[in-house]
Symmetry: C2
Amino acid sequence: MPKQVDHRERRETIARALWRVAEQRGIAQASVREVAQEAGISHGAVQHYFATREEMLAFAMDFASEQTSLRVAEGVRELGNPPHPRDMLRVMLTEMLPLHPDARATSRMSAAYVLEALHSANIHTRARDGLTHGRDLIKQIVRQAITDGHISPDRDPATETNLLLTLTGLTPLIELGVIEPQEALTAVDQHLNQLFANKT
Amino acid sequence: MPKQVDHRERRETIARALWRVAEQRGIAQASVREVAQEAGISHGAVQHYFATREEMLAFAMDFASEQTSLRVAEGVRELGNPPHPRDMLRVMLTEMLPLHPDARATSRMSAAYVLEALHSANIHTRARDGLTHGRDLIKQIVRQAITDGHISPDRDPATETNLLLTLTGLTPLIELGVIEPQEALTAVDQHLNQLFANKT
DNA sequence: GTTGACATATTACAGTTGACCGGTAAAAGC
DNA sequence: GCTTTTACCGGTCAACTGTAATATGTCAAC
């Protein structure tokens, strides 16, 4: 057997280097050479792990989604047992917003992901499936919360789910410094207050 | 006097060509040459109107914001007199969402604008100021609506304004086909219902 | 019809890009 | 020792980029 390296780990290292370049200089500047330099390896090495730049970008984007999911899972695990649906939704939303360094990196990759999806059939499918999956998770929580009497049965699960996802629209306001992180949290809590109004 | 050309109009023509390229192939593909070809002129002509590519992009983005404002103003003008604050907010929000071709073009430019602002101090300032201005307009409407008794005085104008702006977060869901335009409108109306609950 | 100002087109240049390829080093099996 | 497989490097090439310099076209005033 030849010299062995954890392929997956290498790719993740390169992906994180790409995140840093994208965060500081934009996705457009994330060339193979630039990312290689950021990762401290030769551009030939990057090519060894990613046949094309497109493949590298796609992996870095999927990796960002994956890491976000892991952070959410971690946050939910720290909640009481069983966790209150309101707290679960709050964790999900706050981890999707750029409120701390890790979340900011993945948030920016997600933004670039969506923009790229608009003119790349390949990425479009993956982004859509990912979003649909996340939406279904939230919808299930909302449905269960209605069943358990935490949310008024008058509410339409689908519409309320869309409105919850909509809170990620705070991202541009935070990123551009139009509002403070604290104001974003206030807005999230206010929305959740309304959703869980007059209930436990 | 020499042959005269409406400078502003030419720049807008080029900007619209840039929109088309950006919409179909992404901002990254919006090179001087590509835009020139889309506009049906030589790339030298584009240079005549925009010294640099960056200047061209900045103009196209500002032009998009401007056109959105014009569409909003037009929509508000078509309302009753005096217009109900709820209707005004609805027009603003629906014109910012990619629900028809013009709005989609400007929406995509806005998205690219924000992404670009994250690593360009120049654009950052302009994007932030533009967003802050729009936010102040909405906040003023919310304040007035509270004064006029359309919205409960229990609501905090700043937070409610942030939540209204947040509805632009429906954009990715619409663009990726996760939800239908009709569902987006339902969500907007549901949010406005809650905001104007128990009031006229 | 000459001039001057501006619009547009052409060409050139230097730099960067992604992709490709040959070569080398290292590790493991034979 | 030899071969095979994997990891990595560095160079090369064609294509494309933004931009500058230059040339040509156009039209109105004098």
